[in-house]
Assembly symmetry: C2
Homo-oligomer: 514 residues x 2
């Protein structure tokens, strides 16, 4: 399941070579998860039918808004919707019908074909945290994110075995002008990693830049015929499709590039306080959004997105890893599968300000739900802190380590003769132990998932080594990964062309910071 | 789902009474979980049949040991087993046949009937950590547990809304002689809590004392006709049934009291390194153990137990919250249900030395698996630290808070008209918000699970309040719970009789510390 690229730190003959071999940095990257386990489905057929009926009732009676987007209104009118001002009312059945041309799964290509990901079906593709304006680490505390931080997170993502995707805005590089930072961000993903990445969505022109830079990296024809980006199009819930986000969607769909169409909901604020009501609104919104993507280009690859947090009714703060959020995730997964669409949800979501126990409970609750609930594309798989305001260095590697747990659970249980281990049990017998038996010797290397971060040492050893908590251990790991980092090879001509494109674009416009 | 016992701190007329009312301590206790959600089943029918076949092959070919227990060997011989020395080989089908008389569920009575628990079926009963010789808290660090600690944990359990059971050895009170501590422990459970409890298993005579003290608490006839204890009988894996544990089982089964028959397995040491092999051995051991319980008394209430950790092959340390442990839990749950027996597994299991992120990841992984995997009785639901060597004060309340998440997920999704919330979505419409709408006003109080420990405050507030991590917040909560604690009423005559029993027993034998 895992391919290994071993890179040597140094080359030389004899002893030096052997020493180099021993200290070689192994950059491993697991294949995306192919589930060999069933899914957890919480909604009955009857419940699903109620939601589906109600969602179409909402589309027909209430409708959705496409503000400041006359072209979109025209497309909807042509498709048979009832358009009044910015309000689009979609007759029962129409949105669902339009969604039928969206593929049930698609390949997102990486510049290294071994890192291609298949999004949909039984697969689960893991991408890192997206969007935080702040970063946090043990020494530096919480501070505005910079482009240096951004590059560090791309490097960490490249070095993380269980992460299949380089992601997009791994943090907001606030030291680069708003209208230029997408160029630096794309450059970082394209050159510091060889995993697949996401495009910019903050302006239609930036989406176009993303396509053009991808054409330099992959070749124009390749990009015309293949998805090389999966980008995040948030719906402004309830029921509003922003012109900026729709502008980016239009660019990507026209270019045949993948998009996640995702309601962004803090339950109780942007959707009803009930699970059933939220699921109904989510489905209505996704139906409208994906239908619209297919109006732009039939067959454009899209993902049924669901980002839902619950709310603390005392403070109004979004809350994560809660039971309501898990139930919504499970239900939304069922709705997506009934539409035959890839599903995005989950992540290392948490509300905690520190990578402490709260962060880990909330994260683990969400990661487990995402695995069981059939998520195909998991954004924010690692590094998310403080309700998405902060990308945490330590939590990035802590979460990324836990992603290995998901891989192994998804493999399910083997039942060949070796796995049945009858000879081992016969050999050891009552009162014996298995540590030295033949079966253990033959299988122990791959028998158990191994952490790269957590501490399993005896108390005394752990105490003598400084009684370090998880955050401290992760901090050491972060430094080691960044120091071990080695850039994946890229054709220098492509690198130069990308740099030239970025320089030219930057020179073409004045800095803007809003 | 929750009954509330409100106890006033003070009584008085007018303003004083109202102030007392406002500051009244609410001691809430949730009913045990009745799952309204499906279970997660990882094994196919074919896989289950392989395990079942193999387990019976082991019982027949390899057999199990009942050392230093001639009476047990006689029982087995009479039942038709092949007994050679201490080895008992059980012909295919016999153990399974004997298990048929064990009930599929049973009521464990508490002295407060509102706290009775129904063990089996779709239910999940939550009991706290069991067995650690050490305790840890933020100020005192790690130290040997004392009887004062024990009483504190019983009080915390009584004050924990989501905990249904007072448990057993919530920590080992190392300051009380080994041969007398069970008396103090039972006294604590019986008088400081009104939730159900577990009996002593460290000597058959101590099991008898547990029955006798229960007879004082409940009345002799009641105990003869009802289960008032559920006690933990560990199997000495592989395939060995200790005379001490079997002695305790014999006492409890004869008295019609409940027992968990539980393999205690560190995978790779006490069972094969493979999931399928471990499940086979688990099933063989449980079949033999439960069959034996029914040889003692047909219909004796028993639970199919599975305590499995994986192992760190570098250090030999047991590891928790791992994917292999989850897969075994899921599989064992299926095996238990096919036998029609209640199932025990799960818990707040972790290997971490601190209640930090590692502890929480590992714990949440296990708690989620236990909910999804159909556990009926969860021992170690809260407070477990450092591989079970430590009962942690802070982790006790942190975990107990997370148990609320399980309750809410288990409720599933409501689909009545109010839950569908169509009028709310119509009222709010595109671009609006739900915070003030009628549906939110009517439902927000019960809409979302609420934490009692975690922090949802804005960053600035949290920072000004000292930037406290989960452990620190939990430490404050521990002190508040212990200071708010109020002892549940007990008939003074019963209290005196119990105290007299304990005093007499203690006086009847010299202290022993081994």
């Amino acid at each position: 399941m895992t391919e290994t690229a071993t890179r040597k730190r140094a080359r030389g003959g004899g002893g030096a070579a052997r020493r180099a071999e021993r200290t070689a940095v192994r950059i491993e990257s697991a294949k995306f998860i192919e589930r060999n386990i069933p899914l957890f489905e919480v909604l009955t057929e009857e419940a699903l039918e109620i939601i589906e009926y109600n969602a179409e009732t909402l589309l027909e009676e209430v409708g959705v808004n496409f503000p400041e987007n006359p072209k979109a209104l025209e497309r909807w009118r042509d498709a048979g919707a009832d358009v009044q001002g910015e309000r689009v009312r979609i007759p029962r059945g129409l949105a669902r019908k339009l969604c039928e041309t969206a593929p049930s799964s698609y390949t997102q290509h990486a510049r290294n074909p071994e890192r291609n990901v298949e999004i949909g079906g039984k697969n689960l593709v893991l991408a890192p945290v997206y969007g935080p304006p702040f970063v946090r680490d043990l020494e530096g505390g919480r501070r505005y994110a910079t482009m240096d931080d951004f590059r560090n997170f791309v490097k960490l993502g490249y070095m993380s075995k269980w992460l299949h995707h380089s992601g997009g805005t791994v943090c907001e590089p606030t030291d680069v002008p708003v209208n230029k930072r997408h160029l630096d961000m794309l450059m970082a993903h394209m050159t510091l990693s060889d995993k697949p990445y996401m495009g910019s969505v903050t302006e239609p022109s930036r989406a176009r830049d993303s396509v053009e830079m991808s054409e330099i990296l992959f070749g124009k024809e390749f990009v015309q015929n293949n998805a090389v980006m999966t980008s995040l199009i948030n719906i402004n819930s309830p029921m509003t499709f922003d012109d900026v986000m729709m502008g980016a969607l239009e660019v990507y769909a026209e270019a045949g590039q993948g998009c996640i169409i995702s309601p962004f909901i803090v339950g109780g604020a942007m959707a009803p306080v009930s699970v059933a009501g939220t699921l109904t609104q989510v489905l209505a919104e996704v139906l409208a959004g994906i239908a619209y993507s297919q109006l732009i280009r039939q067959g454009a690859p899209v993902i049924f997105g669901t980002f839902v947090s619950s709310i603390d009714m005392n403070s109004g703060a979004p809350t994560f890893g809660t039971p309501e959020a898990s139930l919504i995730l499970y239900g939304a997964g069922q709705l997506a599968r009934r539409l035959g669409l890839p599903f995005r949800s989950g992540g290392s979501l948490c509300g905690s300000k520190l990578p402490d126990a709260q962060a880990a409970y909330e994260t683990a609750n969400t990661l487990n739900a995402a695995l069981m609930g059939g998520v195909n594309f998991m954004l924010h798989s690692c590094g998310w802190l403080e309700g998405g305001l902060v990308s945490s260095y330590e939590k990035f590697v802590m979460d990324a380590d836990q992603l290995g747990v998901l891989h192994r659970i998804a493999e399910g249980v083997k039942f060949d003769e070796n796995a049945q281990a009858m000879d081992a049990i016969r050999e050891v017998g009552p009162g014996g132990h298995y540590l030295g038996c033949a079966h253990t010797q033959a299988n122990f290397k791959d028998a158990f998932w191994r952490t790269n971060v957590l501490d399993y040492k005896p108390f005394e050893t752990w105490y003598e080594e400084g009684a370090r908590d998880t955050q401290t251990l992760a901090s050491i790991k972060v430094k080691k990964m960044l120091s071990d980092y080695q850039q994946p090879a890229l054709d220098p001509a492509i690198n130069e062309a990308l740099a030239a494109y970025v320089a030219e674009k930057k020179a073409s416009m004045p800095d803007a910071f809003t």
